[in-house]
């Protein structure tokens, strides 16, 4: 298999999905973001966003914390070290693939 195709085949599919890629890209530059912000930025419905977050959480790429700010409930999402490493590796690999094609 040519190197460029091997690079493409080796991409992390969990991150490669567009909605999850947007989510990890956002979370890679912040400490944490809440559900409302992620929903607004991705344009996903509540259900869809929850489903994507659940997949990322299952892979231990993110942590989800339910908390309160005053009396207002707050769902905080954070990229874990594993998630940050996976996103970095994805970026590097995808960039390499684009440069080769």
């Amino acid at each position: 298999m040519p190197t460029d195709l091997r690079d493409l085949a080796g991409l992390d599919r969990l991150i490669h999905e567009p909605a999850r890629l947007v989510l990890t890209a956002i979370l890679s530059v912040v400490e944490s973001a809440d559900f409302l912000y992620l929903q607004r930025e991705t344009g996903l419905t509540k259900g869809n966003l929850s489903s994507h977050l659940a997949k990322l959480e299952e892979a231990r790429y993110i942590t989800i914390e339910k908390t309160y700010r005053g009396r207002v409930p707050l769902t905080l999402v954070r990229l874990t070290d594993a998630g940050a490493a996976a996103y970095k590796a994805y970026r590097t690999r995808f960039k390499k693939f684009l440069e080769q094609t």
Binding site: P18, L21, V22, A25, I26, S28, V29, V30, E31, S32, A33, D34, F35, L36, Y37, L38, Q39, R40, E41, K46, G47, L49, S50, L53, A54, I64, K66, R69, V72, P73, L74, T75, L76, R91
Partner: protein
Amino acid sequence: MVDIKRIEKRTVQYFYEDGLNEIALGLIFLLLGGYFFAQAAIPEGSPLNAMLSVLFVFVIISSGFLVSRFIRYFKRRITYPRTGYVAFKKKKPNPKRRAAVVITSGLIGASLAALYTLSPALKALFPALNGLLFAVAIFFIANKVGLVRFHVLAAASAAIGVVVTTSGVGDIKGVSLYYGLFGAAMVVSGLAALIVYLRRSPRPEAGDTEGPDAH
């Protein structure tokens, strides 16, 4: 295709989207303008003037504290309920960077002091120097976050400083005028950004801001 760089940049811009940072800094600049005006108005050598000089450190320290409190207070009430909460990464303390900042600031301060000692007439250039220094700082931030209005503010800072100097208002009065005018410019820019933000971002209905209970 997903434009990753654009998404990352947009996320960083979110901190400035509501204009609250400019409003807070603009108000501090107006306060400093008032402070320098008082210093220029009160006769040199009087006890009140000496007291004002001592107060300067307090004004600077309390300004930093007030800015962060102001931003946090209004973001909690205006921004987070509308468009969500984001905690930005805090930069890890970098001793080399900190030392570079201290040395650069020291060198700029020492150069200005030396120039002033050699030629007191250079004091008249203080408004322009202030304007240019802030223009450079704002230009760096503008380039980093990619917001056009920050480039405009950088240009405004330089222009106000130079115009105030060339108009011959004087040193301390000129500095107070620079801070007053540039502070007003920042408040206006921030208010304009805030109005646009409020129009674009109505408050979501109650219960529409949280993820399903599945989490």
